[in-house]
Symmetry: C2
């Protein structure tokens, strides 16, 4: 399955758009899934994309709108009237609808909301807009299926039929008491299996995981993953059922988080894609390169301070890129392990134990690598003192680099800063400088220049 969108298909589509052949366009796109329409929209230019959005039924374009690239969406929405946007919004679940509306410029929000046909839908969306980004409230949807504990099964089934029509996917039926307080859940499976004589209170499961509207979305993601939940109800401070979060939103969140960590490790500050403009890419990449540049200038100054050694021990200068690279690599490795450990919540044990373990590990790696350097020195007939200097420096640099790589992300995390910023140019650059300084300092001690 998964129809690939061919070049021919796009060319054909563009020709039909240019000749305003709406009937042929509708037939051509009739069978396409919204996700495929989104992919097509991403490829087309803005004029063609807008044309398609106005032509196609909002039932199909609304979901496509959710899937396309943020920048494309912003541009297309600019080309649509408030009424046209409201038509799209009418087709979306409240969580997606609120996301779209929150992306609109402030002056259009009220206009679009007033054009939404279903008043309840509009009220729910406005309600969701209250929550701060990053909270469970901002991620939840108002669509859910709930049962009162005193309903009989036949009443419940009838109610479910009505409620289910409004909800794209029924995961769980939440059970509430007469004050709308969450008291449990009812799986659809249990409802299918139940006898008609029982009531909801007989068959509901009184244990239900829930999160608070103000909980952090990352914590919600962790809970849903840990307990393998496909949906989780969201309650306010009085335990009133306010909405639910589904696993598909969490999947997107996990992917975004992982991509952000990866980009930070690679020294890219903002979400940037292969096809973004040069300006967008420069903005994302240049800051880290400037950091690296200053690191390099600092390293050059340190080396300039040891110019007395230039004539007697030129090898020291040949080996600085090696020392800097090893310090950087070790630091990145150590910090990556900590960053992943923190993300997966499995960093345990005391700081003291961790320190000794890192030192032990670095000693093992350092001694092996120093041995290799030493062999290389013999092979190339280096002065034995120089080989010893490089070998000892390497071991010490590796130990210090791994300690920096381990404890910087731990400290950042303690202060509430994303530890992922530490894996990448930041740690490479600082380790370069430390590494080179330590190297020349030890060389001075041993060789006495």
């Amino acid at each position: 399955m998964a129809s690939e969108i061919s070049k021919d298909f796009i060319q054909n589509l563009e020709q039909l758009i240019q000749s305003n052949n709406d009937d042929a366009l509708l037939t051509l796109l009739e069978e396409e899934h919204p996700a495929d329409i989104a992919e097509i929209i991403d490829i087309l230019n803005l004029a063609s994309a807008t044309y398609l959005f106005k032509l196609l039924d909002s039932e199909r374009t609304a979901e496509a709108l959710m899937e396309i690239d943020d920048n494309d969406r912003e541009k297309i929405l600019k080309n649509l009237s408030a009424e046209e946007i409201a038509d799209e919004i009418d087709e979306l679940d409240t969580d997606d609808a609120a996301d779209i509306i929150s992306e609109l410029p402030q002056e259009r929000v009220t206009e679009v909301i007033s054009e939404i046909e279903d008043d309840d839908h509009a009220k729910h969306i406005v309600d969701l807009l209250r929550y701060e980004e990053g909270t469970a409230g901002s991620l939840m949807a108002k669509e859910l299926v709930k049962a009162k504990e005193n309903w009989t099964i036949p009443i419940c089934v009838t109610e479910m039929r009505n409620q289910a029509k409004e909800v794209t996917r029924v995961h769980s039926i939440y059970v509430v008491d007469k004050n709308d307080g969450l008291i449990g859940r009812l799986s659809l499976k249990d409802l299918l299996v139940a006898s008609d004589k029982s009531t909801v209170s007989d068959i509901y499961i009184p244990k239900v995981d829930s999160v608070n509207v103000n909980d952090n979305v990352e914590d919600v993601a962790r809970i849903m993953q840990k307990y393998d939940l496909e949906a989780i109800p969201v309650v306010d401070n009085e335990n009133h059922l306010e909405g639910r979060i589904t696993i598909d939103d969490i999947v997107d969140l996990i992917k975004e988080e992982a991509e952000k960590d990866y980009q930070m490790a690679a020294g890219i500050t903002e979400d940037v894609e292969a096809d973004d403009t040069i300006f967008e890419k420069t903005k994302a990449r240049l800051p880290w390169l400037i950091l690296g540049l200053f690191g390099g200038l600092a390293a050059a100054s340190i080396m300039g301070g040891f110019e007395d050694a230039l004539l007697t021990y030129p090898e020291l200068f040949y080996f600085t890129p090696l020392i800097a690279a090893m310090a950087g690599n070790v630091g990145v490795q150590s910090s990556a392990i900590i960053v992943q450990g923190l993300a997966n919540d499995n960093i345990r044990g005391s700081m003291f134990n961790r320190m000794w373990k890192e030192i032990g590990l670095s000693l093992v790696n350092g001694i092996i690598l120093a041995g290799l350097i030493f062999l290389f020195g013999i092979f190339l007939n280096y002065d034995i003192n120089i080989s010893i200097t490089i070998a000892i420096s390497l071991i010490i640099v590796i130990i210090i680099a791994s300690l920096i790589g381990t404890f910087v992300p731990l400290m950042l995390n303690k202060r509430g800063i994303d530890p992922a910023v530490a894996t990448g140019p930041f740690i490479t650059t600082s380790n370069d400088i430390f590494g080179i300084f330590i190297f020349f300092f030890i060389a001075k001690l041993i060789l006495g220049f």
Copy 2:
């Protein structure tokens, strides 16, 4: 929610285990979710963990077994008899059961399978073991709910009640023809809403996404994410319904993939956790460090070849760490963007366009950075020729590093190699060497030593 496991709790638990106080242990753990039990098992030592596994009901431990660390699981399974393992397997869905069995040493597999009480369950597991790792078949579960197209709604509901008892979560009901060929699906919601007089063929949705047992799991993950599917049926080459894959398995897969990419970018070859042993960590980290070491040695040799310049232009040697760091950083940035683009399937357009865009971007970044270097040179009273040399070299090194970073992962991907190996020590090391060589080569051209 999400009960945190306190130190006191663990100490209390360990004391109860040491005094063989089984009743108190059972009461203490009565309310714990399998995921929490897994967390407890991960903290306890092997003897205590095994004790708990033997004490607790396999209904509770089976799921915990799936959640704990691979190494811990291997050790605990070694301490359990074939019958005890079969008890756990009996409680698990076929996909998880097959995963556990495939981790057992070859000689225990047959023994454990023969101890499984439910013959159908055993048959299904053996069936799943046939599929190669990385295929949809190896990821799917045999548990699913299916309806025949000619059933009436009341028959269907009765059948669903029976089938649903065997399945942990009902996502969709798959509809098959009389040859067990997949022809569509039936949502539980539609079944709830349907009138008793219709048959399955009246209300089923004839459009159903499916994947083949031999499809790659990464493609399955991409399809399920793209179309926001919570479950997808898996068919064989004759379109017979063989199993289904659910979103929770995909969530795990996405996380693992992202972690693997991140680890490769950081120069860690194997899955390694913060609390692994020194030996495990050395095995994961040392190979990349050795690669870095050889890169450094190559750089040292290149610099040694230009020793004539040492006396006249010592600044060139002070600036090698800067050049190497910039080449490495630019290469990692470029490759990370390509690796993510490939993972998200949004690399489009010709290679030629991409090349010009990278060169343009590098020129912008390079000129800004070279300008900064130049200012620094004026500030520190460097010979103007040296400043010009460093600035021009920096621009050229950045262009070449970004081209290497862009095209190496693209080429690897074309040859079926995971492009993520290119983001990290591999590209940093090769760019270090290229960078330093280009730097001295250009310096020789300009300064003429």
